[in-house]
Amino acid sequence: MSPRSALALPAACHDEPPAPPRGSKARIVAIVGPPNAGKSTLFNRLTGLRQKVANYPGVTVEQHRGRVRLPSGDEIELIDLPGVYSLVHRSEDERVTHDTLLGRMPGQPRPDAVLLILDSTSLARHLVLAANVLSCNLPTLVVLNMGDELRGRGGSLDVTALSRQLGAPVVLVSAARNEGIDAVRAFLAGEVVRPLPIALPALQDVPACHKWATRMGADAGYRAPAPPMWTRRLDSVFLHPVGGPLVFLAVVLAVFQSIFTLAKPLMDVVSGAIEGSGSWLAAHLPASLLRDLLVDGIWAGVGAVVVFLPQILILFLFIGILEDSGYLARAALIADRTMAKVGLQGKSFIPLLAAYACAVPAVLATRTIEDKRDRLATILIAPFMTCSARLPIYTLVIAAFLPEQPLLGPFLGTRAAALLGLYVLGFLAAVGTARLLKSSILRSERTDFVLEMPPYRWPSFRQLGLRLVDRSKVFLHRAGTVILAASVALWILANVPRHDGQAPPIAESVAGMLGRTVEPLIAPLGFDWRIGIGLVTSLAAREVIVGTLGTIYGIEGTAESVGLQEALRMHLTVPAAVGLLVFFAFAMQCTSTIAVVRRETGGWKWPAVQFGYMLFLAWTGAFVANRITAILLGS
């Protein structure tokens, strides 16, 4: 019997790859490793900015690809696979990793070699994955990461001995400190060699794998490092029964506050730059249709959205720091009980916090929730949280209809209170919907809540920076496609049909007719066709309604301008204005969110249900709010 006979049992990799021709070099290399072993750090180390994020077709797992340039001038493609503990595939992540290594991922060639990243400070546990990966019989370099920590905490091991036992080369590195990375590059540049056959345990039998891994470590003279003292000290504060929740609250408030206060000056700069360049264009281009399209259509439309970039980046910076430092896992732990009251769990907390800036990153952040039902419920309620795109219309309507008066002395005015009320309204809708979902279609007997607590670590600025660059690219790409198209479309619709080369009055344009078509549907809410156009155009993005109303009322459309407020007061009653606010609190007016939900849930079904539900709630809510306000005002 061959030493690999154990693999006759259901095993991770049951077919042999074709033998690489002698002397061949790797072209495509996959990075495999458990969560938190340092895969992304090594990946970024090797590729720098030469990387892109894509999605695997049909699944919700994000794929990072990058290129490594070798001293010879050749390039290698590097794929960062999702973090897994084994290749016995149960979760989507494990399936993607497993299928990629086998070359079964559609549209994806099989990698020629594997970089297996393991955390050297938890070697005995992580070597289980080595058994899985070595069974694939692909040329493998075992990269033991966190070498600095292993040394710092008094652990050690004999790399040569481990390499001999595993039948594959082993290097000890520190990706964060750039130690030993040259050895990894040398492996990538060299000829690919399959691992030597060794006896592996049956991969389905996890305890046997553990025994094997522990023995491998012991035979290589592995001395486990001392426990991470700092982590324990910090946890005795951060997970203290009283201190823990206090720290938690402080962190949440700080993040929340900085999304607004820290972002404000930056957003002013960006919007100043957009307005400045817009008027410069207007002044320097010859008057023409093209100029109008460029300035009134594209600049106004795309600009209104790009303004939110700083806010979104600040949010991602904070979440990045929390995540890389290890605090996020503690926050999820502390939030778990409260979230359980509405049927959710601790891991839903972070996405919902992120949704205060924007639902799109929030939906992406739900990927850390393994429980499928909880993940779906979180995705479905995230758009109820008051995202920053609602602020322009909120501030406009509140300023137009509510006189400012002090409520609680200097601390709270009527307008701020109204805004706060809208935040609470969105939050209540989210909580109510979560309850509804989790007690009906997404009901579950038991929540599979398994949360690993990583040791605390200093986040690396390089890592955070690369992530922000990455996010900006995604965001700007969207502004350059979806929102650009919507702005151009609205501008064209508002400018046709033309009579004698003149744009029609807006009421007679195609956009105007669109508004009149929806008017009967929204008349019960007290909205006229002008608001109707705004509701239609804001399907692209909520903030578009302010620009649209501005165009329609024939004046410069900024939320601060008195002219627009005046115009609103002329066309909208107070009950209708309250209704409009409630409508925007509930409706899912955001193509980006719809697109991301479709992608993450793998079809149109859930975004359609979500859109319908939120629209229904928005209409009903606006109607009820309108009636109640009318009764209160005695009209």
Binding site: P207, H210, L239, G346, F449, L451, M453
Partner: protein, 66 residues
Amino acid sequence: MLRAIDLPEALAQRLMEMGLVPGSTVSAPFAAPGGDPRVYRVDGAEVALRREMAQFLTLETPEDPA
């Protein structure tokens, strides 16, 4: 000491991959406010579980044979 895990196969394997293998020594140093979920420490790894799941883990205090 962890004796057995009485959970569906897939879930039990997941816990074992994270280090909760029967036969290992487990302690529970921290918990969320209210005592649930609880952090279990095994072999230097720490994993948080809700009570609804942790109740299916059989733990026993090793008797001193001496």
